[in-house]
Amino acid sequence: MGLATFKGGVHPPEKKELSREASLTPLAPPKTVVIPLSQHIGAPCAATVEIGQEVSIGQEVGVAEAFVSAPVHSSVSGKVVAIGEFPNPMGRMVKSVVIENDGQETWVELKGADPSSLSPEEIKDRISAAGIVGMGGAAFPTKVKLSPPKEKTIDFVILNGAECEPYLNADYRLMVEKPDEVIEGLKIIMRSLGVEKGYIGIESNKPQAFEILTSAAAQYPDVEVQMLEVKYPQGAEKMLIKAITGREVPSKGGLPMDVGCVVQNIGTAVAIRDAVKLGRPLIERVVTVTGGGIREPKNLLVRVGTMVSELVEACGGLTDDTVKVISGGPMMGFALSTLEVPVTKGTSGILVMTESEAPHTDKYLNCIRCGRCIDACPMGLMPQMLSILSEAGQSEECKEYNLWDCFECGSCAFVCPSKRPIVQFVRLAKSQTKPG
């Protein structure tokens, strides 16, 4: 029998080996951090500090004023030297707090707790206060995901250890080096939702992580580690739920909770564990720095707000044939125009690609209707129609082809023999229409 998976998907070169064996290495805290007040999906935070103010590590510098939002905290101790608009990895200008590190590493007072003595509400309050967001890239505020409406029954919590994006190893290193923390995090999430079954899904190209987590989970009968087929985008929420539970999240705006599931990323689980057990806010994360254009690929433990240029420096700098630097993975990450942007809570990797890895051309051909994108689309869409209609300016017609069910995984553009920028066409059409 084949491994659990979903229909569709593609097999881009994995390239995991570049940084697979590089164990987690803390990067020295930088002299200055730039902390964006919006690092998540939802309302930006309001600054709670003033220029000139002294702050400690873990001190809140931005407060969440809306439900769908997450506070941000200082990742160094020192003085606020600027508050203003700075570019973020997505290329947008975002209000940010700039803090000069005094090198003292003074923390705010952290209040630890025994998770088993906390109520679900207390757990969610701690997660909310710690500013936890989904650390796989989308950065959706975690407390929102953990607060489903009463009428939705949650049956399963699924930890996403698929890490299906090529190149990245951030979650892999956490699974291998901190398996107990991962499982503690999962147990805390299950407790906060009153769920009795937790899964960890891992692609079969990470046998070591599978073994380590399986033995770490052996003492918990309610935690199951599930091996998954290696296929992109196996780690997409909907695909992961389908592979593990067989359930399909409804199209047209359905959410995992509609089929009784909550999915969390591995890094998020560890951050949740640190927040609930130790009282630590989310101020650092694992970032895989890799790619053919980086001299020494590493998995760095980085303070939020550290400039990408410093990560690159710490990994030996760029090679001369570098053509692209990407925040995230090669399938869904953002190309950076400058290295002077900060690492945020959602930065899973910095990928430096050479010409041969990421051949770029502006030229593309007509759709030859080969149907490869239809076979590749994990959402069962017809990407060729979306690209043809969007190219012709018929964005509204794209909705007949379920435009808004596309989550832009890039499988269609990956396989397209005409090299059509299908995802870009989809984004164009989305920018001109409203969901529904």
């Binding site: 979903f6 229909k7 593609v10 881009p12 070169p13 700075f86 090529p166 909907k238 399909e248 409804p250 199209s251 359905g254 240029s309 760029l318 570098t322 053509v323 692209k324 630097v325 090669p330 399938m331 869904m332 990450g333 190309a335 950076l336 125009s337 400058t338 002077e340 990928l351 890895e357 990421a358 051949p359 770029h360 051909l365 007509n366 759709c367 030859i368 209707r369 080969c370 149907g371 490869r372 239809i374 076979d375 689309c377 994990p378 959402m379 069962g380 869409l381 017809m382 082809y401 069910d405 890039g410 553009a413 990956f414 396989v415 397209c416 023999p417 005409s418 090299k419 995802v423 870009q424």
Partner: protein, 355 residues
């Protein structure tokens, strides 16, 4: 913001995904051309340099026609994508070895310049270019297009004048009946063997099912074509032939006593089902739609073979089904992940009238 410490690399900004598969239009076209190489080599073996000459004329004329239109319309050259070459090669394999020079030249012009380029180039054509080219020459020069040469294995065939003419097996069956067909070949087994290995009259490329299947296997292995169209097309032909075809023993028409093997191996079916009805641009892109397309091709092919004026119907079947491609694509869409039939809205309860 600190100034960059060193000269910043010139970074490319583009939308994700940042990696692409190695597949390309030109690789597909050249691979399909390669897959036709066994059949082409076979045609030279069976018909001598005449085959080489006809095919070369088709290819050169195809490529010149493409360039001509692109020069006139001011669009860049697309010769390197291999599609004009492939169209020429396919047309060549669909022509009789004895075609006079103007047939391949004008056929290729109609195929590439009119059927493809004037509709907007590769991707926008409605009809299979090579087949329109063939339909044009068949209707314009019916005699030249139905004069079939017997294979002359081992001879170069330089003296084409002496070549003997012979009807195709399908033509024999249609015009003279089964007894004549068996007379010519000796036995039904010989008919099958000749059709499979290639020792019959016919178009250059359709004489040997074996050589075509070798190329088709390559395309299936590379997943350039999938089973849906060939299987549904050939399967439908076989079923109809069995139900309504000529009985190989009696020579008469008998329900459920027909000869599927003869109909599957003869004419242009193998060439058409694997290489022409699988042309991406002119057939449905959704797999379920492809089965409908294949069944439709099979039905029309057999309608023409059994009841039509022409002995062979594969070409017209594919062209007719090409017309249906847009409507099949429109009506047979994929099932979106997580799609659920909208729940029927409960009848609104009539409000109780309050008095």
């Amino acid at each position: 913001m600190a100034e960059p410490k060193k000269k910043e690399h010139e970074l490319i900004i583009s939308s994700s995904p940042h990696v692409r598969s190695g597949e390309s239009v030109s690789r597909i076209m050249w691979t399909v051309s390669l897959a036709l190489l066994p059949a082409f080599a076979g045609s030279v073996y069976f018909f001598g340099v005449a085959a080489l000459w006809v095919t070369a004329l088709c290819i050169v004329s195809s490529m010149l026609s493409e360039r001509l239109v692109q020069r006139m319309t001011g669009t860049g050259s697309s010769l390197s994508d291999g599609s004009a070459f492939l169209t020429g090669l396919l047309l060549g394999l669909n022509l009789p070895p004895s075609s006079p020079a103007y047939v391949p030249i004008l056929g290729a012009f109609v195929a590439v310049a009119i059927t493809k380029q004037l509709f907007g180039g590769l991707g926008f054509n409605i009809f299979n270019p090579a087949l329109i080219g063939r339909a044009f020459v068949l209707i314009t020069w019916p005699r030249a297009m139905t004069t079939w040469t017997s294979p002359q294995i081992g001879q170069l065939g330089l003296d084409r004048v002496d070549a003997t003419t012979a009807a195709t097996p399908l033509g024999l069956l249609k015009e003279d009946g089964l007894h004549e067909l068996i007379n010519v070949f000796g036995s039904m087994e010989n008919v099958y063997r000749s059709l499979f290995f290639g020792n019959t009259g016919g178009s250059l490329g359709e004489t040997s099912a074996l050589l075509l299947l070798i190329g088709a296997a390559l395309l299936m292995y590379k997943r350039y074509i999938t089973w849906q169209i060939p299987v549904s097309f050939i399967g439908t032909v076989a079923v109809i032939a069995f139900i309504f075809g000529t009985n190989p023993e009696t020579g008469g028409l008998a329900l459920f006593g027909g000869d599927p093997l003869f109909h599957v191996l003869s004419g242009g079916l193998i060439l058409g089902a694997f290489f022409m009805a699988t042309d991406y641009v002119t057939v449905p892109s959704v797999r379920s739609g492809q089965i409908v397309f294949g069944v439709g091709c099979g039905l029309i092919t057999m309608l023409i073979r059994l009841k039509g004026g022409f002995p062979e119907g594969v070409m017209f079947a594919i062209l007719l089904m090409n017309c249906f491609t847009p409507i099949i694509d429109r009506s047979m869409r994929t099932k979106t992940f997580g799609f659920r039939e909208p729940e029927k809205q409960a009848e609104p309860k009539p409000k109780e009238e309050k008095h």
